[in-house]
Amino acid sequence: MAWRAICEKFINAQNLVEIESRKDPESDPFRSRYKARELLKEIYCSLKNFEATEEENGGESEDGFSQGFSGDSPAGLQAAKLGAVEYYLGVNHIDTEELSAGQEHLMNCIKLLERCRVSPENVSLFIHVRNQLGILWAGRDETETAQEFLETAESIYQCYMKEDGTPPTDMTEYFTTEENLLTHQERTKRFELAYTHTMYYLAQVYRNLGQTERAATYCHCTLQRQLQLNQFSPMEWALNAATLSQYYITKGRYMEGRHCLSAATVISGLAGEVPCEPAAQESETENEHWEQLRQKGAEIARCWIKYCLNLLQDAKKLLEDNIGELDTDRQEELKRARTHNEEEEEKCKKSTLMFGSEDTFDAIASLEEKVCCSFPLDFTEARAVFLVGQNYVTQAKEYFQIDGYVTDHIEILQDHSALFKTLAFFEEDLERRCKMHKRRVDMIEPICNDLNAKYYLLIRRQLMFELAETFMEMTDLKLALANRQTDTQSLDNHTIKKFNYLCSASAKYFQMFLDSLCFPEGKFPEHLEEEVLRPALVAHFRVGRLHSRLITFSPLAQLENLSKSLENYKYVVEYCEVHPEAATAVEAELELSKEMVGLVPFASLRWLYIENILFNFFSYFGWSLV
């Protein structure tokens, strides 16, 4: 009879949207959806006819209007069915880019449901329609409106689960003949999935409202629900968990960060072993899939690198004194405090939201044990973290090679360099510390010089600055070493040569950095952009220092060096005079520069008296003998 025809139409419409529409040609992308729309409209009319006849038969429509129909009453069912068709029409219009019309249909659905109480027959629709309205309004930048719909959906779900909780009717079942009704299990699955979407949309709404913490909690829940309900693709889930770890890491929540990463690594393993190479003659899609797996694997590795790096850097911040050296008192204090905290840590761990099913739980836990989540406090502990990080560097670089992935590759190198840099902080032996910095130079220098300055201007600036700083660090270490060894004796030639080399290398890269700021005609900009203001002034300041540190026994050369030094200090001072707002960015440097501008000429005097070239001296600094 007629009902059967309606059911068939509905199944056809569903089929058109879910299956046929994928085959629609690019030039007619909504063909199947438009067809489905016609079917839905027909269903709607048929339902309306039913309603008319039922009212003639004197249904109980007037009864209970004030409290709303109960969901399983004939009127309630009728409303739900009509509402469902309105819902599908609304989604159909939105999918075909007719948003306003879509909104109207969805609101009709809401109005129909308003007349009903929430019950297993209609709760699913209650939630679905609000999810859709949430998306629609968020797309129009009306986040608060979206939030209202979604939060209502959330509370409807929670209320329902508390008060009833039986597996509710799925919307598709309104138009199914008896024999095709869903199992309880399937009903639950679909209902829970709708709610997972609500949580996910809320996560986005909270993000848009700037409530990051809340948003992150909802993302975490979404991931958890996906895993519990077994509705996920392993690689995708893993990458999402790894991304979430980045949020926790920046928040300093290393235990959660590590948990996400371990889960990511374990779950990604479910995606199947990544073969070393795709078998020959495989289709393009399979090739692409293989490529995807490799890339995502490498990306998870990069998240691990960041975990190790941040953990080390945060530990360093905790342990360093005001000149950036290891504060041993603080170290002792923290070590003592740690033994107390370990028990609390266990408790805390249980309270955090855990991922994993029974079969993956142990694997995740054993991966977590491989790296600590508390701050490393001495070299041995730091080295353990470093090695884990370095291992992931190797993994990540296998995919992100320089040729093809320049930016990514360099970012990994920068992280590797930063790992060494932080490890060096924990190293007590100066010789070895120096060698760690040398490794940084070795990995960055060739790349920096090979890159095209036009396309990689910003990266090169970073690299040049890092090189300059690394060389500078090495000069400091070399000097400290030399002083320690020879004490009062004068430095030997070899050491001087090396020291001077490091000094000039550092100055050279600072200068390269500064040159990269110049206009094409070679003129240095009069006004520095905000993002390079401080680096540029600092570079000048350091070049000033480096020149004055060069060791030479020729007075003229020394004079030359001092004059260059003075020039750079002067630049800092003069720039800040012309641009007073810059002074706040470089307070300490400015102070010192001012002093140096006053002092350098006199420091030079010592040399000049010896050689009696006072005249030269004066002309050097633009003074005239009166």
Binding site: S27, T96, E97, E98, G139, R140, D141, E142, A146, H197, R207, N208, G210, T212, A215, C219, Q226, E236, L239, N240, T243, L244, Q246, Y247, T250, E284, E299, R302, C303, I305, K306, Q313, F386, V393, T394, K397, E398, Q401, I402, D403, G404, Y405, V406, E411, L423, R432, K435, D442, I447, N452, K454, Y455, Y456, L457, L458, L517, F519, P525, H527, E529
Partner: protein
Amino acid sequence: MAGASVKVAVRVRPFNSRETGRNAKCVIQMQGNTTCISNPKQTKDGAKNFTFDYSYWSHTTAEDPAFASQTQVYKDIGEEMLLHAFEGYNVCIFAYGQTGAGKSYTMMGKQEPGQEGIIPQLCEDLFQRTGENRDPDLTYSVEVSYMEIYCERVRDLLNPMSQGTLRVREHPILGPYVEDLSKLAVTGFPDIRDLMDVGNKARTVAATNMNETSSRSHAVFTIVFTQKRRDQMTSLDTEKVSKISLVDLAGSERADSSGAKGTRLKEGANINKSLTTLGKVISALAEMQSNKKRKSDFIPYRDSVLTWLLKENLGGNSRTAMIAALSPADINYEETLSTLRYADRAKQIRCHAVINEDPNAKLIRELKAEVERLRNLLFSQGLQELLGSAGIYTFYTGIHAPVSAGDVPADPNHLTEEGEEGEEAVATETISKEEAAERLLETEKIIAELNETWEEKLRKTESIRLEREALLAEMGVSIKEDGGTLGVFSPKGTPHLVNLNEDPLMSECLLYYIKEGFTRVGQQDVDIKLSGHFIKEIHCVFVSETNEQGEGETLTSINTTGSGGGKAL
């Protein structure tokens, strides 16, 4: 290097037939630079004002004194950007807005006089200006490419032979580029207009209820404009290269939910529908968090292909203008409001620019050196092995992987055992022969492209044009509007070898055509003569034969010692 913010304009179109049929009301008003939108549902207090660099009233016809024509839009925005290009800046103009709001009309326009959009007008103007040049030391060249990004896949709109999707890659010297995207040399406006035409025909367009011709993809029309100046004193050439990117974005409402993601600029409040995009949501959280603190975390989601390709335009070396297209109809009120809000935000985006000077000559030298090094390495290993059975051997290169798996010290304790600084073990890298060969080939491909003379570029353009025309003719499409004859339909491209000169400064390269039958390559008594240490008397033989259908040619090379420096096209 003073920073320049993004220029933002909005433009409202007339009602379309569908809207007129439904008696739509106009919700947009404009006054000077200000655009006002009123809410059709709350007439009392629903009006909102926005101010932009330009507000274009194109809702009525030319009779209306307030009407903004295609010419005016070009004069204000296109011309300014073109002048920046002459100064050497990279420039970018992109159109944003809801499907059917008039983006394509503003960018591309129609063929009729006075209806051309920014792209054709800018091209015409470009050639007009270069044509006026009387300075013998100043020469110009123009190359264009046209691609579309549909569901994150890049397609070449100018080359009918390239079927699949193109890879985007990043090269240490070339920067980000689309592999195998055809860059065609053009000498005058008619050339470029024909190419545009062809590209527009190849674009993915669809008919929907909302719009009869809705473009579903992002289209990027790129002009690489080179100004070469010869210095008489030193007889040195300096080059100024600017890239002009003209982008017609896919409809803004499609952002995220269906794969045609907008640019990064589209940071709006859209909700991703599908759980598959969860990661992108989380990554936004991590980013928001890290911006405040530090940049030491890693977000494992790349932006869309478009953002990636335009990053130099949006991030640094460029002058950018945006035109937001608006629908006037009350039924689109919400979407139009959202477009206006987005445009309003875009005003605050700042980019600062660096003038680009002389990249090409240096590029060639660097790449040559790289190739030379790789080639020497390969030769020293015995090239024939390369093409033989699979196997692994070790060779080192300074560029590709200075530190790789092999030499990372597993334990920093071993650091002390290494030599003095500066004398550290050179990084060795283990790569397979196939990989080495592939790398060499790739680099050579790039070199060949860079090395191409202008004449060759033109020749190549011509041959692609012919291929395209042949293909179009087959499909029953004629490019010329007047339906005039197109000349020879199918001169088959003759296969040839491109020779790379040993002298890095010689920018020319020779072409060797390979005839049907046998073509022998070697030192003496051969069809193609090569000289050099590693060239054997009979170096290799190419066999070219026509297949049975007589349609195509198969090119087989029989190597005696392996491939030389050439590359078969």
